[in-house]
């Protein structure tokens, strides 16, 4: 009896929590609280959550060290950019090299282009994954990093489709936050369902010990490609949303250092924890905005503190990443998920049982 009561109690708590969050987004969305800046940062955090959760699926749950997220995001972003800009506005954008007749007259609704972007990213991931996923951890990392750069270089050079280094401007922007938060909620739910399915258990088996997993009859190659392609799909979706949020894309945005943001998020959240990743996405994105005062000069009692100037924020950011990696390798959650018990223990000052497992497997 006790147990059921407790479960109902938690259900109630969950419902209340979800309602509170939904109410906050509704209020923000109706412009009752907050301003455009707050909305923009939160939307960005939602996009980062989608990409980070998908990266965690590949890195944290399947144990494949992939650093190709920026490239897959570029595919999604460019698909949205190329197909959603109104046809009549394109002449002004492609003023140096005219757009190729193949795509010049095709205009798609946003959601179709978004899904198409995800599918294209997944397709590219399958093509890349076939050869690359046979590699071991660090070779895989450098090969995926390389592919993300190749994708970017190809986009820089395909001037008739992507407008080269000039980028594409005036991408239609979505009017409501629900596009971003809805996409985040759907993506996270889908990934959680996947992780709890038999595929998810196979992924985790591969992470723990791929040789043992293979001996148990798991088709290593198929599952690795699957995880990689699904990760790329959601990264493509994230990229498409980013294009819509910013209203402009250019190849420089998708430099591979962008992937380091997601790496920081999954390390902070805990490799192999979905709830940790979502929380970390918001902490990091909002944190980076809050840290912006480091980049402005600071005057204390009429004396200008010399260390506060442009670039200081990123130094702090990278030092935080190093501290995390060196001293808090399990991040916020390790491989656990957020639960009411954890929150309760935290507030009662009880230490949760020490997690002996170390991070994600290499």
């Amino acid at each position: 009896m006790m147990k059921i009561e407790k479960k109902e109690n938690n259900l109630l708590k969950n419902a209340v929590l979800i309602l509170i969050f939904a109410a906050i987004i509704v209020l923000l969305d109706l412009d009752i609280i907050g301003d455009n800046y707050v909305r923009r940062v939160l939307n960005l955090a939602a996009i980062y959550a989608i990409v980070s959760v998908s990266m965690n699926l590949v890195n944290g749950f399947t144990g494949l060290f992939s650093l190709g997220q920026a490239g897959f995001m570029a595919i999604g972003a460019y698909t949205v950019a190329v197909f959603t800009v109104p046809v009549e506005a394109r002449k002004a954008i492609f003023y140096i090299v005219p757009q190729s007749p193949l795509v010049a007259n095709i205009e798609l609704p946003f959601f179709v282009a978004l899904i198409l972007g995800g599918l294209l990213a997944a397709l590219v991931a399958i093509l890349i994954g076939m050869p690359v996923l046979r590699l071991k951890s660090d070779y895989l990392a450098i090969a995926t990093l390389g592919f993300s750069e190749i994708i970017r270089i190809v986009f820089t050079n395909m001037k008739t489709i992507t407008n080269g280094a000039l980028g594409i401007k005036s991408i239609p922007q979505m009017p409501t936050m629900w596009v971003f938060f809805g996409a985040m909620i759907i993506s996270v739910i889908l990934i959680v369902l996947l992780i709890n399915s038999s595929y998810g258990r196979a992924f985790k088996a591969i992470r723990e010990d791929d040789i043992a997993a293979e001996a148990m009859g798991i088709n290593l190659f198929k599952h690795k490609v699957l995880s990689f392609a699904i990760g790329a799909f959601f990264a493509g979706i994230g990229g498409g949303l980013l294009a819509s949020l910013l209203g402009t894309v250019d190849p420089k945005q998708f430099y591979f250092t962008m992937t380091y943001n997601f790496l920081l998020i999954i390390v902070l959240g805990g490799m192999g924890s979905i709830s940790g990743t979502v929380i970390a996405s918001f902490v990091v994105t909002v944190g980076l905005e809050v840290l912006r005062f480091f980049d402005d000069s600071l005057v204390l009692f009429g004396y200008e503190v010399p260390i506060f100037r442009a670039g200081f924020r990123m130094v702090i950011f990278s030092i935080l990443l190093m501290i995390l990696v060196l001293f808090f390798r399990n991040g916020l959650m390790g491989q656990k998920e957020l639960s009411w018990k954890m929150v309760g223990d935290f507030f009662n000052g009880k230490k949760s049982p020490k997690n002996n497992r170390k991070g994600g497997a290499a």
Binding site: P131, A143, N157, G311, V325, L326
Partner: protein
């Protein structure tokens, strides 16, 4: 294409290839011992270029004095990175130590942007390196000719250290089997530090020669050469010093040849290295001169 232009490009290819080779040695040695892609290696290279700018421009030192200081500073930086970021993670999973390497690299880039700003700094003119020499219609800078010679000499020095000295023997033992070497009483930390000393010193020499050829110093200048040189090391067979130099030469030559024979593909110059990497990893993952290693269960 005339013969002169071809000779000019050939010389350029050899010279850029030998610069890659200098950096690739550092990658291959660290990987051979720690099984770690030292992402920060390219940034040690970048920092060395900045040190040279400060030595010669800010403090007005003669080039040989600043070169010596730059090498010492790069070595100190390399060893510091190893002690601070890699040492405590020696028993951690591979992914953690790689994230740490990426973190250090990211930190150095951001630190350089913060301290020196993103505005390119001019590399000081080292008179004896930037002077031009003409052979008939082919005109080359001294740096272009000196670079391959320096690289070959340094390769022999490194080969001498690894094959003929006691510490070199220890290095080879550690790269063969980390645990057994430790049990045999080899001071692992000393071996690893020595590896970083050699690698960083070569990166500093590379930075000085690179700066004489491409005199623009920016915080991200080490990123692309760094990735490419790791690829050169993989191409040559990771862990093999001669292989790294060979890989560097091949990579440099193929880049220059692509640019000179197929000028329309110049924009794809940075992609070649990655394409080579993918081909090598699929066809011959051990690289040209690498030894075959089998996975143990």
């Amino acid at each position: 294409m005339t013969f002169e232009v071809f000779m000019q490009q050939l010389a350029n290819g050899i010279s850029i290839g030998s610069l890659y080779a200098l950096l690739a040695i550092g990658y291959t040695m660290v990987y051979g011992i720690l099984r770690l892609i030292n992402f920060a290696h390219g940034d040690i290279f970048m920092m060395s270029a900045y040190f040279m700018v400060f030595g010669m421009v800010t403090f007005g030192l003669p080039w040989y004095v600043s070169a010596a200081i730059v090498i010492v500073a790069a070595v100190a930086l390399g060893v510091l990175i190893e002690k601070a970021a890699y040492k405590s993670l020696r028993d951690a999973p591979r992914m953690s130590i790689m994230i740490s390497a990426i973190g250090v690299s990211f930190l150095l880039e951001n630190l350089a942007t913060y301290l020196f700003t993103g505005v390119p700094k001019g590399f000081p003119d080292i008179d004896i390196l930037t002077r031009a020499i003409s052979f008939g219609n082919v005109s080359l800078s001294v740096a272009t000719l000196v670079t391959p010679v320096v690289t070959i000499i340094l390769l022999f020095v490194v080969l001498f250290i690894t094959n003929k000295t006691k510490i070199g023997m220890a290095m080879r033992a550690v790269s063969k089997d980390f645990e057994t070497a430790r049990l045999m009483g080899i001071n692992i930390n000393r071996v690893i530090s020595t590896t970083f000393v050699i690698g960083s010193a070569l990166a500093a020499v590379g930075a000085i020669l690179w700066g004489s050829k491409y005199p623009s110093v920016i915080p991200l200048m080490g990123v692309m050469p760094g990735l490419k040189c790791f690829i050169a090391a993989v191409l040559g067979g990771i862990g093999n010093t001669t292989g790294a130099v060979l890989g560097g030469f091949i990579l440099g030559m193929s880049e220059i040849m692509l640019v000179s024979f197929l000028p329309s593909l110049t924009g794809y110059r940075d992609a070649i290295a990655f394409i080579i990497l993918i081909i090598v990893l699929i066809v011959k993952p051990t690289g040209l001169l690498g030894e075959k290693v089998t996975d143990k269960v």
